[in-house]
């Protein structure tokens, strides 16, 4: 039986101490939806790196800001959305997909290497919306 598509949303303070909790939620969701151990690690790593970037670059390590995480669980994939309320897009008007960022550090490279899609775009009103998609291998369940 294929699971229906479901949403789990989680809002957290932009404090690194919550990264472990977030990984746990992602990991458990991946298990419930039948992702393999490797796929599960990929999802945990990508979400971790995405949030770490928000904490570091978008909020400048201010731990009192907010990060919204949405896990959209579909039969064949998990779509993860990370939303911040930073000034990034308002201030510079430049997109995080700029050439300069393509040469970014390790975090971004890891996200791109373990996920099938990684897209940044301006969120409604303010902030950035990062969408990442991970397909799961066909399973005989």
């Amino acid at each position: 039986m294929r699971p229906p598509d479901e949403y789990i949303t989680l809002s957290l303070p932009s404090n690194p101490k919550y990264l472990g909790l977030l990984r746990e939620v992602v990991g458990r969701s991946a298990e419930i939806f039948g992702f393999s151990e490797e796929e599960k690690l990929s999802l945990m790593l990508a979400v971790n790196e995405g949030c770490a970037n928000i904490i570091e670059h978008c909020y400048g390590r201010d731990p009192s800001q907010k990060i919204d995480v949405t896990l959209h669980l579909l039969p064949d994939r998990m779509e993860v959305e990370l939303r911040d309320y930073g000034e990034y897009f308002e201030e510079g008007g430049r997109s995080i997909c700029d050439e300069e960022l393509r040469e970014g550090g390790l975090g971004l490279r890891l996200m791109k290497s373990v996920m099938d899609e990684v897209v940044f775009r301006p969120a409604e009103r303010e902030g950035t919306l990062l969408t990442m998609v991970k397909y799961r291998a066909a399973r005989r369940s």
């Binding site: 472990g20 490797e38 975090g107 890891l110 290497s113």
Partner: protein, 111 residues
């Protein structure tokens, strides 16, 4: 995360327990900087009880290597689990660090 450092046959064996991430890596970084600051010639990181490591953990490893190299110091990784191995791989670090199956093997391995 918990860190314990012991000296064995002149080698600093640093045992890490728990996830190494943006929250915990600063503590690891300072523990390791202390060792490289004292020019400890050989450091073995026991990763057997590390279920997860993120890019800040990777950066910590690389940083330690950078600090150790100038004085000819060596940094070895011991007993990484499946997850940590995969993250090392994804970060293209498998060639940078000697990786051993256990602390004992890391201690025995030659320079």
């Amino acid at each position: 995360m918990r860190i314990r450092t012991r000296f064995q046959e002149g080698v600093a064996v640093v045992s890490i327990e728990g996830d190494v991430d943006m929250y915990t890596s600063p503590e690891l970084r300072s523990a390791l900087s202390e060792l490289t600051g004292e020019r400890v010639p050989r450091i073995v990181l026991d990763l057997g009880a590390v279920p997860f490591m993120d890019s800040s953990g990777i950066a910590t490893l690389v940083q330690t290597l950078k600090e150790a190299r100038p004085y000819g110091g060596e940094v070895r990784l011991a007993a990484p689990g499946k997850n940590v191995l995969r993250i090392l791989e994804l970060s293209n670090l498998m060639a940078l660090f000697p990786i051993h199956g256990s602390v004992e093997e890391a201690l025995r391995g030659e320079a």
